[in-house]
C-alpha cells in the first residue's frame, strides 16, 4: 500500500508563498497529474514529495510513514527529471544500475539486473554506450529504466516529455502509461500541457498560484470546471468565455449580439462558457456574425467567428463545412445542455453543463 498524502502543505521562499495549503491524497497505484501554468507550484510540490525542497509547514506521508523531514534517499521514491539527468561519465548499463549501488547491492548483481531492465525497455543494444551517443527518446527510456529498477513506492515525473518532439511525445506518453499500469506503482506527474494531463491521469490536479484549484478525473474536470480559469485551461481549442446577460434561453452580449443557449439554470449577468465543439454555426445571409478564419485540421476545422466585435471559436467537422468560408454570414447556437455559467466577478461556476446533461 503506497498511498501518498499531502496534509496542509505550505511552501514559501522568504516572504513569497509558492504553495498554499495543499491537501491531496494519491491512492495506491494511481496516476495523478499536477497541471497548471508556469509558476503555479506544481514542480515545487513534486520536489517536496521527493525531498529536494523542504516543507515550510504541513506533512507528507508515504504509506502512512511521515517522510516530511526525511532525506530523498530514505523516502523510497524514484524520479525522472525533465532533462533526464543521466550521468554523462557512466555507460547506459551503469546509469541504470546506479541506484542499486547506492543500496549496496554487489556490483555483478546490479549490472545483471540493469541488463534485464534495459532489455524490457528495448535498450539492450545501447548498454555500453555513453548517454551522449543516444537520441532524446532513448535517453528518456534510460532515465525510466533507472527509475523502475528500484521498484520504489512512488514514481515522480517532472515534465519528462517536454524535451521530445511532438510525435515522439505522443508515443512515449503511451509507453509510460503502460509501464505504470504494469508495475502498479503510485505515480505523481507534473506537466504544463493539459492534453498530456487529460490523456495520462486517473486524477488531475489543476494548480494556480500555489493552490490546487480543482481535483478530479479528467472527465469531471473537463465537463464541470469549477471556475473560469480551469474552464479556459483544459480543452483545446480554449472554451469560449463571454460576459453578458442571460434572459430565459437567450444570451445577449454587451454589443447586442444574441445567442440561443437553451435552458440554463441561471439568469441575469453571467459569464457564459461554451466549448468550441458545442458552438454550432449555421449559414444565414442576414445574420450579424461573420466568419473570420477557417483552419482545416484534417477531420475537423477551427472556425473563428466575429460576432459584433466579439471573437468566438467553433469546431466543425470537415464534412459539415460546406458553405462556410471566410466572410460567410452565420448564426450561432449552442448545443443544448453544453453551456456553463460562471459568476462574472469571481469566475466561480454557477451552473454547470453536467446539470442538464445528467439530469436529462
Amino acid at each position: 500500500m503506497a498511498i501518498v498524502r499531502f496534509s496542509g502543505v505550505n511552501k514559501s521562499f522568504r516572504s513569497t508563498s509558492v504553495v498554499s495549503d495543499l491537501n491531496l491524497e494519491l491512492p495506491d497505484g494511481s496516476f495523478t497529474v499536477l497541471v497548471g501554468p508556469s509558476g503555479c507550484g506544481k514542480s515545487t510540490s513534486l520536489r517536496m514529495l521527493a525531498g529536494l525542497e523542504s516543507v515550510t509547514s504541513g506533512t507528507i506521508t508515504i504509506a502512512d510513514r511521515d517522510v516530511t523531514q526525511l532525506q530523498p534517499r530514505d523516502r523510497d521514491v524514484a524520479m525522472v527529471f525533465q532533462n533526464y539527468a543521466l550521468y554523462p561519465h557512466l555507460s547506459v548499463r551503469e546509469n541504470i544500475a546506479f541506484p542499486l549501488r547506492a543500496a549496496k547491492e554487489p556490483r555483478a548483481n546490479a549490472l545483471k539486473r540493469a541488463d534485464a531492465v534495459a532489455e524490457s525497455l528495448g535498450l539492450a543494444m545501447f548498454l555500453d554506450r555513453k548517454p551522449k551517443a543516444l537520441s532524446g527518446g532513448q535517453q528518456q527510456r534510460v532515465a525510466i529504466g533507472r527509475a523502475i529498477i528500484r521498484e520504489p513506492s512512488v514514481f515522480l515525473f517532472d515534465e519528462p516529455l517536454s524535451n521530445l518532439d511532438a510525435k515522439l511525445r505522443v508515443e512515449t506518453r503511451t509507453e509510460l502509461l503502460q509501464i505504470q499500469r504494469r508495475l502498479g506503482i503510485t505515480c505523481l506527474y507534473v506537466t504544463h500541457d493539459q492534453e498530456e494531463a487529460m490523456t495520462l491521469s486517473d486524477r488531475m490536479v489543476v494548480m494556480r498560484d500555489g493552490r490546487a484549484v480543482q481535483v478530479g478525473t479528467p472527465i469531471e474536470v473537463f465537463n464541470s470546471p469549477v471556475d473560469t480559469f480551469v474552464a479556459a485551461f483544459v480543452g483545446s481549442p480554449k472554451m469560449n468565455l463571454i460576459a453578458g446577460e442571460l434572459t430565459g434561453e437567450t444570451f445577449t452580449l454587451p454589443s447586442g449580439f444574441a445567442l440561443n443557449v437553451g435552458r440554463v439554470g441561471a439568469s441575469g449577468p453571467v459569464t457564459l462558457g461554451i466549448r468550441p465543439d458545442d458552438l454550432v454555426p449555421t449559414v444565414a445571409d442576414d445574420a450579424d456574425a461573420r466568419v473570420k478564419l477557417v483552419e482545416l485540421l484534417g477531420p475537423r476545422a477551427i472556425v473563428t467567428v466575429d460576432a459584433r466585435d466579439t471573437e468566438l471559436t467553433c469546431v466543425v467537422e470537415a464534412a459539415r463545412l460546406s458553405g462556410i468560408t471566410e466572410g460567410t454570414r452565420i448564426t450561432l447556437s449552442a448545443r443544448p445542455g453544453a453551456v456553463h455559467a460562471f459568476d462574472t466577478k469571481t469566475g466561480q461556476r454557477l451552473v454547470g453543463a453536467d446539470q442538464e446533461k445528467h439530469d436529462g
Binding site: G51, R73, F81, A85, A102, L156
Partner: protein, 271 residues
C-alpha cells in the same frame, strides 16, 4: 580584397615576430648551456664543439635536489589545494557558502603582495625552529595557490547541472556521495587544468622561497638565483640550470592551454 590581403600579411608577420621573440631567448640559452666561457664571447657562434661542462657542473651542484624539493612543495600545495578547494568551491557554487565575502576573499588573496605575509611566516618559522625547511614554504605557497585553485573551480562547478546531484540523491546517495560520485567526475578536466596551473605558480615562486628557505632547503628558483653572484657567473652552468627549471613546466603548459582559456573565461573574466 586588397585590404584583406595586407591584413593577412600583417597578421602572419606579427605572429612570426612574436614567435621569434619567444623562441630566440630560449634557443640562445640552450646554446649557451653547451658553450665554454670563451665561446660565449661570441653570441652568434653557431658551429662550435659543444661542451657538457656546464651541465656536469650543474647536475653535481645539487640543482636536481632543489628541483626535487620544488616538486615536493608544489605537489603538496596543489594536492591540498585541490582537495580542500574543490569541496569549498562546490559549496560556494551551489549554496553560496560564505556569501560574497568568501568570493571576494578568494580574489583578494590572489593579488596580495607577498611582502605582506612573508614576515609573519618568517617569524613563525623561527619560533617553531622550522626556518630553512620546506614547511613554511608550503604554507606560504598555499596562501596563493589555494585561492587560485578555488576561484578556478567555482566556475567549473557552476556549469554542472543541479539535476545530476538531485538525481543521485533520489537514487539513494547522501549529498557527499552525490558530490563525489557524480559531480566531481564532471569537473575533472577543470580540476586538472587548475592543478597544473597551481603547480606552475608554486614551482615558479622565488620570493617566499628566498626568504623562508634560503639555504639547505632551497627550492629550484632560489638555487638558480644562487648562480647569480657578483663574483661572476658561470653562464654555461646557469643556462643549464635554467633549462632544467623551464622545460618541464613549458611541456605541461602545452597540455592545458585550451582548458586554461576555459577556466579563465569561466572564473576570472566573469565577476
Amino acid at each position: 580584397m586588397r585590404n584583406s590581403r595586407t591584413l593577412t600579411i600583417c597578421r602572419v608577420a606579427l605572429l612570426w615576430a612574436a614567435g621569434i621573440s619567444v623562441l630566440f631567448p630560449v634557443v640562445w640559452i640552450a646554446l649557451a648551456s653547451v658553450k665554454t666561457p670563451e665561446q660565449l664571447n661570441d653570441p652568434f657562434l653557431l658551429s662550435f664543439a659543444p661542451t657538457l661542462d656546464g651541465w656536469r657542473n650543474v647536475l653535481s651542484s645539487g640543482i636536481l635536489a632543489a628541483a626535487g624539493r620544488s616538486a615536493i612543495v608544489a605537489l603538496t600545495t596543489v594536492g591540498i589545494s585541490v582537495v580542500v578547494g574543490s569541496m569549498g568551491a562546490y559549496a560556494i557554487a551551489r549554496y553560496r557558502a560564505g556569501g560574497t565575502a568568501t568570493r571576494f576573499g578568494m580574489l583578494a588573496a590572489q593579488v596580495l603582495p607577498p611582502a605582506v605575509l612573508v614576515f609573519p611566516f618568517l617569524t613563525m618559522a623561527y619560533a617553531l625552529r622550522l626556518n630553512d625547511t620546506l614547511v613554511p614554504v608550503i604554507f606560504a605557497h598555499l596562501s596563493f595557490v589555494l585561492p587560485v585553485v578555488t576561484w578556478f573551480l567555482i566556475g567549473f562547478f557552476e556549469a554542472v547541472p543541479r539535476s545530476l546531484e538531485e538525481q543521485a540523491q533520489v537514487d539513494g546517495f547522501t549529498r557527499f556521495q552525490a558530490f563525489r560520485l557524480v559531480v566531481l567526475p564532471q569537473v575533472f578536466p577543470g580540476m586538472g587544468a587548475a592543478a597544473i596551473f597551481g603547480f606552475t605558480l608554486s614551482w615558479n615562486d622565488l620570493f617566499y622561497g628566498l626568504i623562508l628557505a634560503p639555504g639547505k632547503a632551497a627550492i629550484l628558483p632560489v638555487a638558480i638565483a644562487g648562480f647569480n653572484t657578483f663574483r661572476g657567473v658561470q653562464i654555461g652552468s646557469m643556462s643549464a640550470a635554467i633549462l632544467i627549471a623551464v622545460v618541464p613546466v613549458v611541456i605541461a603548459s602545452f597540455f592545458i592551454q585550451r582548458r586554461l582559456v576555459q577556466g579563465i573565461s569561466g572564473g576570472a573574466v566573469k565577476f
